[in-house]
């Protein structure tokens, strides 16, 4: 039964290339569609270039939305990676 799930987190570090890569690699493991939203911009979490294109920085709120059979697990994984993004980034 497909479901949807959403959670938000305030970034403690900039969403640089390295965390963007980690997000995209992790997102690809889920069947669900996974979207990141910052302000009015959204990105497919499975596309590293789209995630980098968000240009999300420390202090911004980022929302993770997933829809599909493993939506809850996908959101948990994304929030975990976002929470670990360090202020210096990479």
């Amino acid at each position: 039964m497909p479901g949807s799930c959403e959670a938000a987190i305030t970034l403690t570090g900039d969403l640089h290339a390295r965390p963007a890569g980690s997000l995209a690699v992790a997102a690809a493991r889920f069947q669900s569609a996974v979207e990141l939203a910052v302000g009015a911009s959204t990105a497919d979490a499975k596309s590293v270039l789209a995630v980098m294109g968000l240009g999300a920085t420390r202090g911004q709120q980022i929302t993770v939305r997933a829809a599909g059979p493993d939506a809850a697990e996908a959101v948990t994984a994304m929030i975990g990676i976002l929470a670990a993004a360090t202020p210096v980034g990479g």
Binding site: A17, R18, G21, L49
Partner: protein, 133 residues
């Protein structure tokens, strides 16, 4: 996950520094699990491309699940084509028509995520549509 075979990536550039630097950036973003081999410059260290360097890189990145080659411009493509026309490799090889840096990054992430050769090729080619601003 780490013992799963990953598609390898070969970056072919006119400049050794460009190929190696791009491999370095893509490697950082791809979480380090993908073999990215740089084939840049001529054999005497000049600007240009070398069949021998591409061959060497292909063997370095060779994986049972395949290798995706990303050339930068012009004669990089010709050099890759010349090598593939004269030699067979024991794994599938695909040549990507995509932007060099963005394509390398997107392909590396697709490979790190366990994508097959078609998925990695598609990621490199679709990188042309990504906006950076």
């Amino acid at each position: 996950m780490s013992d799963e075979a990953r598609v390898g990536i070969v970056l072919v550039s006119h400049s050794a520094a460009l190929a190696e630097g791009t491999a370095e950036v893509a490697g950082q973003i791809g979480v380090g699990s993908v073999v990215i081999a740089a084939a840049g410059g001529t054999e005497d260290g000049g600007i240009g491309t070398s069949i021998a360097r591409v061959r060497e890189a292909l063997h370095k990145a060779g994986a049972s699940v395949g290798v995706v080659i990303l050339p930068d411009l012009g004669s990089s493509v010709l050099t890759v084509r010349a090598l593939l026309a004269e030699e067979d490799f024991p794994w599938p090889v695909a040549v990507a028509d995509g932007p060099f840096v963005e394509g390398a990054v997107a392909a590396t992430v697709a490979a790190a995520a366990g994508g097959d050769i078609q998925a990695v090729l598609r990621a490199a080619e679709e990188a042309r549509h990504a906006r950076k601003l």
